[in-house]
């Protein structure tokens, strides 16, 4: 049963869920865009602030585990959500339909993500994952009158549901095999003959779960939806997809690999290594000549998750630390890149400004936006003095420390290929000739808040690249707590 302590431990989740209810009530009472946005931001900030309190009580609610990974996931989720919520109003100003639902959906998704990163039970995992995905269908298809948004929504729904089915079936197999749903108990304890690791049946279940999660992480070969959904979805939704969804699902996969006995198998690790390898190489290859920035970032996310999977493959505390650092840097860079896209697309009612030619000469029109974009791309490419380099450093260090040379080779090859398109985008920002007509911008508070957020992100990217010690120390502490 849930105790009060547990509730305190779950304070962030509770606050976010409560905010969601509040927002819903607000919508039914009176629609007010700025108010809703402010409420959302406030709720998320409050949740973030409640974290120390929640962390202090060391609660262990049923079906959940509030450990370092959970804290890591909570912080990252809330921070990303905060950034998204802060940048969205400017974007949504240009949307002619109802705008407030977006915040409601966002809060629901965040609730799901918070549950996901803390889950220690298949039921919790499943329902949180769906709670994360379900609002995303709506967010991706938010501008459903736009053909692409609708298309993205449908694709995501259909494929995601199929992946969920795989996930469920996998869980069912594990359940049938062990009679347990708790992570730690998912072992073949009843059959002593099987002490040498999971048997094929269990592995089959584990594989199906990995497939289900791999889909959300857009790991090859379950990646095909990614570019389409990234391109079609409205930019804030894509951003949620790229940050919150990815990081929460990744962390839960990490926990599965760490604590679930059914996943403790070299075979599974090899499988994930293979998937990681083809993801990092394939994702980068796919992005090579892409001219749509959102698609391109979609492909690049495939590659990044491929890199990140190394942390799943390798055992030990360093892998958690690596995951934390890499996720942090990746999320920040992604927020920056998509943030600029959102900012540039914002006053527009139709498609997002995602074609590369929209960004031609951006530097000479709005240097700061271009600078943020440049930093984000450099960070994604893992160039030193940006946060991304620290992440890549960690990944390579992890691979080297564990002598996974093939994966390290994949990172190197993938990075080399990846540079090609990052640089192409980057240089476009600086080319002198303007491409298409720059879009007119709506001035206002929303815009300034968005710009401020972008600045914070940019500073963060640089700061983490130059002096990453606080982040590293923090992640290391969390990894010890995991």
């Amino acid at each position: 049963m849930l105790t009060l302590t547990d509730l305190v431990g779950l304070l962030p989740l509770v606050i976010v869920a409560a905010t969601a209810i509040l927002v819903m009530l607000g919508i039914t009472w009176q629609r007010h865009h700025s108010g809703t946005a402010a409420l959302t931001v406030g709720g998320l900030a409050l949740a973030l602030m409640s974290l120390p309190l929640a962390w202090a009580v060391s609660a262990s609610p049923p079906l959940m585990m509030l450990d370092g990974i959970a804290l890591m996931g909570t912080v990252l989720t809330l921070a990303s959500a905060l950034a998204i919520a802060a940048m969205s109003p400017h974007y949504l100003t240009g949307y002619t339909g109802p705008q407030e639902e977006f915040y409601l959906l966002l809060l629901c998704a965040v609730t799901g993500a918070l549950g996901l990163v803390a889950s220690n039970h298949m039921a919790m995992l499943f329902i949180s994952l769906e709670l994360l995905s379900m609002p995303l269908y709506g967010m991706v298809a938010y501008r459903f009158r736009t053909e692409r948004s609708l298309e993205a929504g449908i694709k995501y729904l259909v494929l995601s549901a199929a992946a969920t089915a795989f996930l469920l079936f996998g869980m069912a197999l594990l359940y049938a095999r062990t009679g347990q749903l708790e992570f730690g108990a998912l072992s073949a304890a009843l059959t002593p003959a099987l002490t040498g690791g999971p048997d094929p049946w269990m592995l089959g279940g584990a594989v199906l779960i990995v497939v289900g999660l791999g889909f959300k992480l857009s790991i090859m070969p379950f990646h095909l939806w990614t570019p389409d959904v990234y391109q079609g979805g409205i930019a804030p939704a894509t951003l949620v997809l790229a940050t919150i969804s990815k990081l929460a699902v990744f962390l839960v996969l990490l926990r599965l690999m760490m604590v679930v006995p059914a996943f403790e198998s070299e075979w599974l690790r090899n499988l994930i290594s293979l998937l990681a390898f083809i993801s990092m190489v394939g994702g980068n290859l796919l992005a090579l000549f892409q001219l749509n920035l959102k698609r391109l970032l979609g492909y690049s996310s495939i590659a990044h998750l491929g890199y990140l999977l190394i942390a799943v493959v390798v055992e030990g505390p360093l892998s958690v630390e690596t995951s934390g650092v890499y996720l942090f840097t990746y999320v920040v860079a992604t927020l920056g890149a998509f943030g600029v896209i959102m900012h540039v697309s914002s006053p527009h009612h139709g498609e997002d400004a995602a074609d590369l030619h929209h960004y031609r000469g951006l530097f000479w029109r709005s240097p700061w936006l271009a600078a943020v974009m440049t930093l984000s791309l450099l960070s994604l490419a893992g160039i030193p003095l940006t946060a991304g380099f620290i992440g890549k450093f960690y990944i390579i260090a992890l691979g080297v420390a564990d002598s996974r040379w093939w994966l390290v080779g994949g990172v190197v090859a993938g990075s080399a290929v990846g540079l090609f398109y990052y640089l192409r985008v980057m240089v476009t920002l600086y080319l002198p000739e303007p491409g298409s007509q720059p879009r007119e911008s709506i001035e206002g508070r929303h815009k300034r808040v968005g710009e401020l957020t972008l600045m914070v992100i940019a500073v963060l990217i640089l700061l983490l690249g130059i002096y990453p010690v606080p982040m590293i120390d923090w992640m290391a502490a969390l990894a010890r707590a995991a």
Partner: protein
């Protein structure tokens, strides 16, 4: 041993699951695709029930309940999207929404 072996139940679930999958891959009408998804979810639910009854445990059935919840939610959202699809293209073929590629 009396009773149905658990494997049989699971095989039935797997069969239904595969059929759903086949439907997903074969059909181009969104309605059928949604139904195939329901079949797959249902098959997973069946597998949970099989496990639950085999181990004589309520957890699996509770999971089934969650699955049904999801199925309902997914069906509603899916159907809503399908309606939009129909309004736009006057057809519910999924091939209509294959503009984004490459």
């Amino acid at each position: 041993m009396n009773g149905v072996p658990m494997e049989h139940g699971l095989v039935l679930a797997a069969t239904l699951f595969s059929l759903g999958l086949a439907g997903l891959m074969l059909r181009r009408s969104m309605l059928f695709v949604l139904m195939s998804l329901e079949i797959m979810l249902n098959a997973a639910g069946l597998a949970f029930i099989v496990g639950s009854t085999a181990w004589n445990q309520p957890d699996g059935q509770a999971m089934f309940l969650l699955v049904i919840t999801l199925a309902a939610a997914e069906a509603s959202v899916g159907l809503a999207l399908m309606i939009q699809l129909y309004q736009r293209f006057h057809s519910i073929k999924l091939d209509n929404v294959s503009r984004m590629r490459g």
